[in-house]
Symmetry: C2
Subunit: 199 residues, 2 copies
DNA sequence: GACCCGAGACCGACCAGTCGGTATCGCCGG
DNA sequence: CCGGCGATACCGACTGGTCGGTCTCGGGTC
Protein backbone atom coordinates (compact mmCIF):
# COMPACT_ATOMS: atom_id res chain seq x y z
CA UNK A 1 0.00 0.00 0.00
CA UNK A 2 2.68 2.52 0.97
CA UNK A 3 5.20 1.43 -1.65
CA UNK A 4 3.89 3.29 -4.67
CA UNK A 5 1.19 5.91 -4.49
CA UNK A 6 0.13 5.89 -8.11
CA UNK A 7 2.79 4.12 -10.21
CA UNK A 8 4.67 5.61 -13.21
CA UNK A 9 1.90 5.46 -15.82
CA UNK A 10 4.37 6.23 -18.60
CA UNK A 11 3.46 4.77 -21.97
CA UNK A 12 5.87 2.02 -22.88
CA UNK A 13 5.35 -1.05 -25.07
CA UNK A 14 4.89 -3.09 -21.91
CA UNK A 15 2.37 -0.64 -20.49
CA UNK A 16 0.41 -0.68 -23.72
CA UNK A 17 0.39 -4.43 -23.99
CA UNK A 18 -0.93 -4.75 -20.45
CA UNK A 19 -3.71 -2.24 -21.13
CA UNK A 20 -4.62 -3.95 -24.37
CA UNK A 21 -4.78 -7.36 -22.73
CA UNK A 22 -6.79 -6.05 -19.80
CA UNK A 23 -9.37 -4.33 -22.00
CA UNK A 24 -9.75 -7.45 -24.10
CA UNK A 25 -10.25 -9.73 -21.15
CA UNK A 26 -12.48 -7.40 -19.12
CA UNK A 27 -14.70 -6.91 -22.16
CA UNK A 28 -14.82 -10.61 -22.86
CA UNK A 29 -15.24 -12.14 -19.42
CA UNK A 30 -15.82 -9.29 -17.00
CA UNK A 31 -13.55 -7.66 -14.46
CA UNK A 32 -13.94 -10.07 -11.56
CA UNK A 33 -13.79 -13.15 -13.74
CA UNK A 34 -10.46 -12.04 -15.17
CA UNK A 35 -7.43 -12.88 -13.08
CA UNK A 36 -4.25 -10.88 -13.03
CA UNK A 37 -2.47 -14.05 -14.11
CA UNK A 38 -4.54 -14.14 -17.29
CA UNK A 39 -3.78 -10.52 -18.07
CA UNK A 40 -0.04 -10.94 -17.74
CA UNK A 41 -0.17 -14.13 -19.75
CA UNK A 42 -1.98 -12.50 -22.66
CA UNK A 43 0.29 -9.46 -22.48
CA UNK A 44 3.31 -11.74 -22.37
CA UNK A 45 4.72 -10.02 -19.31
CA UNK A 46 4.91 -10.94 -15.64
CA UNK A 47 3.14 -9.80 -12.53
CA UNK A 48 6.15 -7.76 -11.59
CA UNK A 49 5.75 -5.68 -14.74
CA UNK A 50 2.04 -5.16 -14.20
CA UNK A 51 2.45 -4.01 -10.61
CA UNK A 52 5.29 -1.79 -11.71
CA UNK A 53 2.94 0.25 -13.92
CA UNK A 54 -0.35 -0.11 -12.07
CA UNK A 55 -1.09 0.23 -8.40
CA UNK A 56 -3.76 -2.47 -8.46
CA UNK A 57 -6.16 -4.35 -10.65
CA UNK A 58 -8.73 -1.64 -9.96
CA UNK A 59 -6.30 0.97 -11.17
CA UNK A 60 -6.28 -0.78 -14.52
CA UNK A 61 -10.04 -0.45 -14.67
CA UNK A 62 -9.91 3.23 -13.85
CA UNK A 63 -7.33 3.89 -16.55
CA UNK A 64 -9.63 2.30 -19.09
CA UNK A 65 -12.51 4.59 -18.16
CA UNK A 66 -10.25 7.57 -17.93
CA UNK A 67 -8.95 7.19 -21.46
CA UNK A 68 -12.42 6.75 -22.95
CA UNK A 69 -14.11 9.58 -21.10
CA UNK A 70 -11.17 11.91 -21.54
CA UNK A 71 -11.36 11.57 -25.29
CA UNK A 72 -15.13 12.07 -25.31
CA UNK A 73 -14.95 15.18 -23.19
CA UNK A 74 -12.35 16.82 -25.37
CA UNK A 75 -14.59 16.07 -28.36
CA UNK A 76 -17.47 17.69 -26.51
CA UNK A 77 -15.51 20.88 -25.97
CA UNK A 78 -14.36 20.95 -29.57
CA UNK A 79 -17.91 20.56 -30.88
CA UNK A 80 -19.63 23.04 -28.59
CA UNK A 81 -16.98 25.65 -29.31
CA UNK A 82 -17.94 25.62 -32.99
CA UNK A 83 -21.03 27.67 -32.17
CA UNK A 84 -23.34 25.76 -34.51
CA UNK A 85 -27.14 25.99 -34.25
CA UNK A 86 -28.75 23.56 -31.78
CA UNK A 87 -29.86 20.96 -34.31
CA UNK A 88 -26.45 20.77 -35.92
CA UNK A 89 -24.69 20.69 -32.58
CA UNK A 90 -26.92 17.85 -31.41
CA UNK A 91 -26.29 16.00 -34.63
CA UNK A 92 -22.54 16.42 -34.25
CA UNK A 93 -22.60 15.30 -30.62
CA UNK A 94 -24.60 12.18 -31.46
CA UNK A 95 -22.29 11.36 -34.35
CA UNK A 96 -19.23 11.82 -32.18
CA UNK A 97 -20.57 9.77 -29.31
CA UNK A 98 -21.52 6.93 -31.63
CA UNK A 99 -18.17 7.06 -33.39
CA UNK A 100 -16.36 7.03 -30.07
CA UNK A 101 -18.47 4.19 -28.71
CA UNK A 102 -18.13 1.99 -31.76
CA UNK A 103 -14.47 2.86 -32.13
CA UNK A 104 -13.80 1.86 -28.52
CA UNK A 105 -16.34 -0.90 -28.20
CA UNK A 106 -14.48 -2.96 -25.66
CA UNK A 107 -13.79 0.00 -23.41
CA UNK A 108 -17.42 1.10 -23.67
CA UNK A 109 -18.61 -2.41 -22.85
CA UNK A 110 -16.39 -2.59 -19.79
CA UNK A 111 -17.54 0.83 -18.70
CA UNK A 112 -21.20 -0.02 -19.02
CA UNK A 113 -20.87 -3.25 -17.15
CA UNK A 114 -18.34 -2.57 -14.43
CA UNK A 115 -18.54 1.09 -13.60
CA UNK A 116 -19.87 0.34 -10.13
CA UNK A 117 -16.69 -1.54 -9.18
CA UNK A 118 -14.72 1.66 -8.74
CA UNK A 119 -13.96 2.81 -5.22
CA UNK A 120 -15.60 5.98 -3.94
CA UNK A 121 -12.89 8.42 -5.04
CA UNK A 122 -12.51 7.13 -8.58
CA UNK A 123 -16.21 6.56 -8.92
CA UNK A 124 -17.15 10.16 -8.18
CA UNK A 125 -14.49 11.42 -10.58
CA UNK A 126 -15.90 9.28 -13.35
CA UNK A 127 -19.47 10.21 -12.51
CA UNK A 128 -18.62 13.90 -12.63
CA UNK A 129 -17.12 13.53 -16.09
CA UNK A 130 -20.13 11.61 -17.33
CA UNK A 131 -22.47 14.14 -15.88
CA UNK A 132 -20.69 16.96 -17.65
CA UNK A 133 -21.52 15.42 -21.00
CA UNK A 134 -25.05 14.60 -19.93
CA UNK A 135 -25.67 18.14 -18.67
CA UNK A 136 -24.24 19.66 -21.83
CA UNK A 137 -26.78 17.79 -23.94
CA UNK A 138 -29.65 18.50 -21.58
CA UNK A 139 -28.85 22.20 -21.45
CA UNK A 140 -28.58 22.35 -25.22
CA UNK A 141 -32.04 20.83 -25.62
CA UNK A 142 -33.49 22.94 -22.82
CA UNK A 143 -32.33 26.24 -24.26
CA UNK A 144 -33.53 25.37 -27.75
CA UNK A 145 -36.91 24.47 -26.27
CA UNK A 146 -37.04 27.80 -24.46
CA UNK A 147 -36.46 29.85 -27.58
CA UNK A 148 -38.80 27.74 -29.67
CA UNK A 149 -36.22 26.05 -31.88
CA UNK A 150 -37.18 22.66 -30.47
CA UNK A 151 -40.66 21.54 -29.44
CA UNK A 152 -41.44 20.61 -25.85
CA UNK A 153 -42.52 17.13 -26.86
CA UNK A 154 -40.79 15.72 -23.80
CA UNK A 155 -38.66 17.31 -21.05
CA UNK A 156 -35.05 17.94 -22.03
CA UNK A 157 -33.90 15.53 -19.32
CA UNK A 158 -35.96 12.72 -20.81
CA UNK A 159 -34.74 13.44 -24.32
CA UNK A 160 -31.18 13.28 -23.00
CA UNK A 161 -31.89 9.98 -21.30
CA UNK A 162 -33.26 8.61 -24.57
CA UNK A 163 -30.18 9.66 -26.52
CA UNK A 164 -27.68 8.30 -24.02
CA UNK A 165 -29.85 5.26 -23.48
CA UNK A 166 -29.45 4.07 -27.03
CA UNK A 167 -25.78 5.01 -27.23
CA UNK A 168 -24.80 3.41 -23.95
CA UNK A 169 -26.54 0.19 -24.90
CA UNK A 170 -24.63 -0.08 -28.15
CA UNK A 171 -21.88 -2.35 -26.80
CA UNK A 172 -24.64 -4.88 -26.14
CA UNK A 173 -25.73 -5.23 -29.76
CA UNK A 174 -23.46 -3.36 -32.13
CA UNK A 175 -20.97 -5.46 -34.10
CA UNK A 176 -18.36 -3.91 -36.39
CA UNK A 177 -19.16 -6.48 -39.07
CA UNK A 178 -22.89 -5.76 -38.83
CA UNK A 179 -24.98 -4.34 -41.66
CA UNK A 180 -24.90 -0.70 -40.60
CA UNK A 181 -21.96 1.67 -40.37
CA UNK A 182 -21.71 3.87 -37.25
CA UNK A 183 -22.31 6.97 -39.38
CA UNK A 184 -25.57 5.50 -40.63
CA UNK A 185 -26.75 4.73 -37.13
CA UNK A 186 -25.80 8.23 -36.04
CA UNK A 187 -27.85 9.76 -38.86
CA UNK A 188 -30.84 7.59 -38.04
CA UNK A 189 -30.75 8.39 -34.34
CA UNK A 190 -30.26 12.11 -35.00
CA UNK A 191 -33.06 12.14 -37.59
CA UNK A 192 -35.44 10.47 -35.20
CA UNK A 193 -34.58 12.68 -32.26
CA UNK A 194 -34.79 15.88 -34.29
CA UNK A 195 -38.10 14.73 -35.78
CA UNK A 196 -39.48 14.33 -32.28
CA UNK A 197 -38.20 17.79 -31.41
CA UNK A 198 -39.52 19.58 -34.51
CA UNK A 199 -41.85 22.48 -33.52
CA UNK B 1 -22.85 -34.24 -10.11
CA UNK B 2 -25.26 -37.16 -10.20
CA UNK B 3 -26.87 -36.42 -6.87
CA UNK B 4 -29.36 -33.73 -7.86
CA UNK B 5 -29.97 -32.78 -11.47
CA UNK B 6 -31.92 -29.59 -11.00
CA UNK B 7 -33.11 -29.27 -7.37
CA UNK B 8 -36.73 -28.93 -6.17
CA UNK B 9 -37.40 -25.25 -6.96
CA UNK B 10 -40.50 -25.26 -4.82
CA UNK B 11 -41.35 -21.95 -3.21
CA UNK B 12 -40.83 -22.10 0.51
CA UNK B 13 -39.92 -19.31 2.95
CA UNK B 14 -36.33 -20.50 2.81
CA UNK B 15 -36.31 -20.50 -0.99
CA UNK B 16 -37.73 -17.00 -1.06
CA UNK B 17 -35.26 -15.65 1.46
CA UNK B 18 -32.36 -17.04 -0.54
CA UNK B 19 -33.66 -15.48 -3.75
CA UNK B 20 -34.25 -12.16 -2.06
CA UNK B 21 -30.77 -12.09 -0.55
CA UNK B 22 -29.15 -13.10 -3.83
CA UNK B 23 -30.95 -10.42 -5.84
CA UNK B 24 -30.01 -7.79 -3.28
CA UNK B 25 -26.36 -8.72 -3.25
CA UNK B 26 -25.97 -9.29 -6.98
CA UNK B 27 -27.55 -5.91 -7.64
CA UNK B 28 -25.39 -4.22 -5.05
CA UNK B 29 -21.97 -5.76 -5.63
CA UNK B 30 -22.21 -7.87 -8.75
CA UNK B 31 -22.44 -11.60 -9.26
CA UNK B 32 -18.77 -12.51 -9.07
CA UNK B 33 -18.09 -10.23 -6.15
CA UNK B 34 -20.82 -11.88 -4.10
CA UNK B 35 -19.86 -15.08 -2.32
CA UNK B 36 -22.25 -17.87 -1.55
CA UNK B 37 -21.29 -17.38 2.09
CA UNK B 38 -22.63 -13.82 1.97
CA UNK B 39 -25.89 -14.91 0.41
CA UNK B 40 -26.58 -17.52 3.05
CA UNK B 41 -25.59 -15.11 5.78
CA UNK B 42 -28.04 -12.45 4.61
CA UNK B 43 -30.76 -15.02 4.07
CA UNK B 44 -30.06 -16.48 7.52
CA UNK B 45 -29.80 -19.99 6.15
CA UNK B 46 -26.89 -22.35 5.59
CA UNK B 47 -25.01 -23.45 2.54
CA UNK B 48 -26.73 -26.78 2.71
CA UNK B 49 -30.11 -25.11 2.34
CA UNK B 50 -28.98 -23.07 -0.65
CA UNK B 51 -27.61 -26.09 -2.46
CA UNK B 52 -30.74 -27.98 -1.59
CA UNK B 53 -32.84 -25.54 -3.64
CA UNK B 54 -30.38 -24.44 -6.31
CA UNK B 55 -28.02 -26.50 -8.40
CA UNK B 56 -25.32 -23.83 -8.39
CA UNK B 57 -24.64 -20.16 -7.94
CA UNK B 58 -25.27 -19.71 -11.66
CA UNK B 59 -28.63 -21.36 -11.30
CA UNK B 60 -29.59 -18.61 -8.88
CA UNK B 61 -28.72 -16.05 -11.53
CA UNK B 62 -30.76 -17.83 -14.14
CA UNK B 63 -33.79 -17.98 -11.87
CA UNK B 64 -33.61 -14.23 -11.41
CA UNK B 65 -33.68 -13.62 -15.15
CA UNK B 66 -36.30 -16.22 -15.68
CA UNK B 67 -38.74 -14.64 -13.28
CA UNK B 68 -38.31 -11.17 -14.74
CA UNK B 69 -38.50 -12.13 -18.39
CA UNK B 70 -41.33 -14.57 -17.83
CA UNK B 71 -43.49 -11.84 -16.35
CA UNK B 72 -42.64 -9.42 -19.15
CA UNK B 73 -43.44 -11.94 -21.87
CA UNK B 74 -46.81 -12.78 -20.44
CA UNK B 75 -47.54 -9.04 -20.31
CA UNK B 76 -46.51 -8.80 -23.95
CA UNK B 77 -48.98 -11.49 -24.96
CA UNK B 78 -51.74 -9.92 -22.93
CA UNK B 79 -51.21 -6.51 -24.52
CA UNK B 80 -50.85 -7.62 -28.12
CA UNK B 81 -53.96 -9.77 -27.83
CA UNK B 82 -56.05 -6.67 -27.10
CA UNK B 83 -55.94 -5.74 -30.76
CA UNK B 84 -55.40 -2.01 -30.16
CA UNK B 85 -54.19 0.32 -32.91
CA UNK B 86 -50.39 0.56 -33.27
CA UNK B 87 -49.92 3.80 -31.37
CA UNK B 88 -51.92 2.59 -28.40
CA UNK B 89 -50.23 -0.79 -28.43
CA UNK B 90 -46.81 0.84 -28.47
CA UNK B 91 -47.85 3.11 -25.63
CA UNK B 92 -49.08 0.16 -23.60
CA UNK B 93 -45.91 -1.84 -24.23
CA UNK B 94 -43.70 1.06 -23.19
CA UNK B 95 -45.75 1.63 -20.06
CA UNK B 96 -45.62 -2.03 -19.14
CA UNK B 97 -41.90 -2.36 -19.74
CA UNK B 98 -41.18 0.71 -17.65
CA UNK B 99 -43.48 -0.46 -14.87
CA UNK B 100 -41.86 -3.88 -14.89
CA UNK B 101 -38.34 -2.44 -14.93
CA UNK B 102 -38.92 0.04 -12.13
CA UNK B 103 -40.90 -2.51 -10.16
CA UNK B 104 -38.08 -5.02 -10.39
CA UNK B 105 -35.18 -2.63 -10.38
CA UNK B 106 -32.66 -4.93 -8.76
CA UNK B 107 -33.48 -7.81 -11.07
CA UNK B 108 -33.26 -5.52 -14.09
CA UNK B 109 -29.92 -4.16 -12.90
CA UNK B 110 -28.51 -7.65 -12.45
CA UNK B 111 -29.81 -8.66 -15.83
CA UNK B 112 -28.28 -5.69 -17.59
CA UNK B 113 -24.94 -6.16 -15.97
CA UNK B 114 -24.42 -9.89 -15.74
CA UNK B 115 -26.36 -11.45 -18.58
CA UNK B 116 -23.16 -12.62 -20.26
CA UNK B 117 -22.25 -14.81 -17.29
CA UNK B 118 -24.81 -17.44 -18.21
CA UNK B 119 -23.56 -20.66 -19.76
CA UNK B 120 -24.40 -21.39 -23.40
CA UNK B 121 -27.66 -23.24 -22.79
CA UNK B 122 -29.18 -20.75 -20.37
CA UNK B 123 -27.83 -17.83 -22.34
CA UNK B 124 -29.51 -18.80 -25.56
CA UNK B 125 -32.80 -19.40 -23.75
CA UNK B 126 -32.67 -15.93 -22.25
CA UNK B 127 -31.62 -14.35 -25.53
CA UNK B 128 -34.49 -15.99 -27.35
CA UNK B 129 -36.99 -14.59 -24.84
CA UNK B 130 -35.50 -11.13 -25.09
CA UNK B 131 -35.55 -11.28 -28.85
CA UNK B 132 -39.19 -12.21 -28.87
CA UNK B 133 -40.06 -8.95 -27.17
CA UNK B 134 -37.67 -6.99 -29.36
CA UNK B 135 -39.08 -8.50 -32.55
CA UNK B 136 -42.64 -7.86 -31.45
CA UNK B 137 -41.93 -4.15 -31.10
CA UNK B 138 -39.96 -3.96 -34.33
CA UNK B 139 -42.67 -5.75 -36.28
CA UNK B 140 -45.33 -3.50 -34.81
CA UNK B 141 -43.44 -0.39 -35.94
CA UNK B 142 -42.60 -1.91 -39.31
CA UNK B 143 -46.19 -2.78 -40.18
CA UNK B 144 -47.47 0.60 -39.10
CA UNK B 145 -44.82 2.23 -41.27
CA UNK B 146 -45.86 0.10 -44.22
CA UNK B 147 -49.50 1.11 -44.03
CA UNK B 148 -48.66 4.74 -43.40
CA UNK B 149 -49.79 4.96 -39.77
CA UNK B 150 -46.24 5.76 -38.72
CA UNK B 151 -43.71 7.82 -40.64
CA UNK B 152 -40.46 6.27 -41.85
CA UNK B 153 -38.39 8.76 -39.90
CA UNK B 154 -35.98 6.00 -38.98
CA UNK B 155 -35.94 2.25 -39.65
CA UNK B 156 -38.15 0.20 -37.33
CA UNK B 157 -35.10 -1.60 -36.00
CA UNK B 158 -33.49 1.66 -34.96
CA UNK B 159 -36.67 2.90 -33.32
CA UNK B 160 -36.82 -0.35 -31.38
CA UNK B 161 -33.22 0.05 -30.29
CA UNK B 162 -33.99 3.57 -29.08
CA UNK B 163 -36.96 2.42 -27.03
CA UNK B 164 -35.18 -0.52 -25.42
CA UNK B 165 -32.05 1.57 -25.03
CA UNK B 166 -33.70 4.01 -22.68
CA UNK B 167 -35.63 1.32 -20.81
CA UNK B 168 -32.69 -1.00 -20.35
CA UNK B 169 -30.55 1.81 -19.03
CA UNK B 170 -33.10 2.73 -16.38
CA UNK B 171 -31.52 0.67 -13.59
CA UNK B 172 -28.48 2.93 -13.99
CA UNK B 173 -30.26 6.18 -13.15
CA UNK B 174 -33.83 5.59 -11.98
CA UNK B 175 -34.45 5.84 -8.25
CA UNK B 176 -37.84 5.09 -6.70
CA UNK B 177 -37.55 8.20 -4.54
CA UNK B 178 -36.73 10.37 -7.55
CA UNK B 179 -38.92 13.22 -8.82
CA UNK B 180 -40.75 11.31 -11.52
CA UNK B 181 -43.14 8.40 -11.25
CA UNK B 182 -42.71 5.49 -13.66
CA UNK B 183 -46.02 6.33 -15.31
CA UNK B 184 -44.81 9.85 -16.03
CA UNK B 185 -41.62 8.59 -17.60
CA UNK B 186 -43.61 6.14 -19.67
CA UNK B 187 -45.85 8.90 -20.97
CA UNK B 188 -42.89 11.09 -21.82
CA UNK B 189 -41.04 8.34 -23.66
CA UNK B 190 -44.18 7.28 -25.54
CA UNK B 191 -45.02 10.90 -26.44
CA UNK B 192 -41.55 11.46 -27.78
CA UNK B 193 -41.40 8.26 -29.77
CA UNK B 194 -44.87 8.74 -31.25
CA UNK B 195 -44.02 12.34 -32.11
CA UNK B 196 -41.00 11.12 -34.05
CA UNK B 197 -43.20 8.59 -35.82
CA UNK B 198 -46.04 10.97 -36.71
CA UNK B 199 -46.63 10.99 -40.51
C1' DG C 1 27.96 1.06 -10.03
C1' DA C 2 23.40 3.12 -9.39
C1' DC C 3 19.04 2.72 -11.04
C1' DC C 4 15.09 1.24 -13.16
C1' DC C 5 12.48 -2.42 -15.48
C1' DG C 6 10.95 -6.58 -15.18
C1' DA C 7 10.96 -11.62 -13.46
C1' DG C 8 8.46 -15.25 -11.02
C1' DA C 9 8.24 -17.87 -6.57
C1' DC C 10 5.53 -17.20 -2.88
C1' DC C 11 1.73 -15.97 0.73
C1' DG C 12 -2.49 -15.90 3.38
C1' DA C 13 -7.25 -15.22 2.41
C1' DC C 14 -11.03 -16.80 0.37
C1' DC C 15 -14.11 -19.39 -2.69
C1' DA C 16 -17.72 -22.69 -4.78
C1' DG C 17 -19.20 -26.79 -4.00
C1' DT C 18 -19.40 -31.53 -1.34
C1' DC C 19 -20.80 -34.89 1.81
C1' DG C 20 -22.03 -37.48 5.78
C1' DG C 21 -25.25 -36.61 8.79
C1' DT C 22 -29.81 -35.18 11.59
C1' DA C 23 -34.61 -33.69 12.10
C1' DT C 24 -39.29 -33.55 10.64
C1' DC C 25 -43.30 -35.13 8.34
C1' DG C 26 -46.82 -37.69 5.52
C1' DC C 27 -48.43 -42.07 4.71
C1' DC C 28 -49.75 -46.77 5.15
C1' DG C 29 -50.39 -51.49 7.07
C1' DG C 30 -52.19 -53.51 11.08
C1' DC D 1 -54.97 -45.11 16.54
C1' DC D 2 -50.35 -46.44 16.38
C1' DG D 3 -45.68 -47.50 14.98
C1' DG D 4 -42.36 -47.28 11.70
C1' DC D 5 -40.34 -46.11 7.27
C1' DG D 6 -39.05 -43.57 3.26
C1' DA D 7 -38.58 -38.96 1.56
C1' DT D 8 -37.76 -34.33 1.95
C1' DA D 9 -35.59 -30.34 4.31
C1' DC D 10 -31.75 -28.67 6.13
C1' DC D 11 -26.98 -28.59 8.56
C1' DG D 12 -21.99 -27.03 8.60
C1' DA D 13 -17.11 -28.73 8.64
C1' DC D 14 -14.25 -29.59 5.06
C1' DT D 15 -11.52 -29.65 0.49
C1' DG D 16 -8.95 -28.64 -3.56
C1' DG D 17 -7.93 -24.92 -5.81
C1' DT D 18 -7.62 -19.82 -7.14
C1' DC D 19 -7.04 -15.20 -6.11
C1' DG D 20 -4.69 -10.36 -5.71
C1' DG D 21 -0.77 -8.70 -4.18
C1' DT D 22 4.28 -8.84 -2.34
C1' DC D 23 9.08 -9.45 -2.32
C1' DT D 24 13.57 -10.49 -3.52
C1' DC D 25 16.51 -10.55 -7.09
C1' DG D 26 18.65 -10.55 -12.10
C1' DG D 27 20.33 -7.95 -15.83
C1' DG D 28 20.69 -4.16 -18.99
C1' DT D 29 21.78 0.83 -19.59
C1' DC D 30 23.68 5.29 -18.71
Amino acid sequence: MSRSAAAPARRTPVYDRIMEAAVDLFAEKGFDATSVAEIVERAAVTKGALYHYFASKDDLLFEIYHRLIGAQLSDLDRITSLGLPPDETLRALIADLIASTTGNLREAAVFGRESHKLDAAHSSAVRADRRRYHDAVRTLVERAQQDGTFARTAPAETVTLIIFGMINQMPKWYRPDGPKAPAELATELADFVLAGLRP
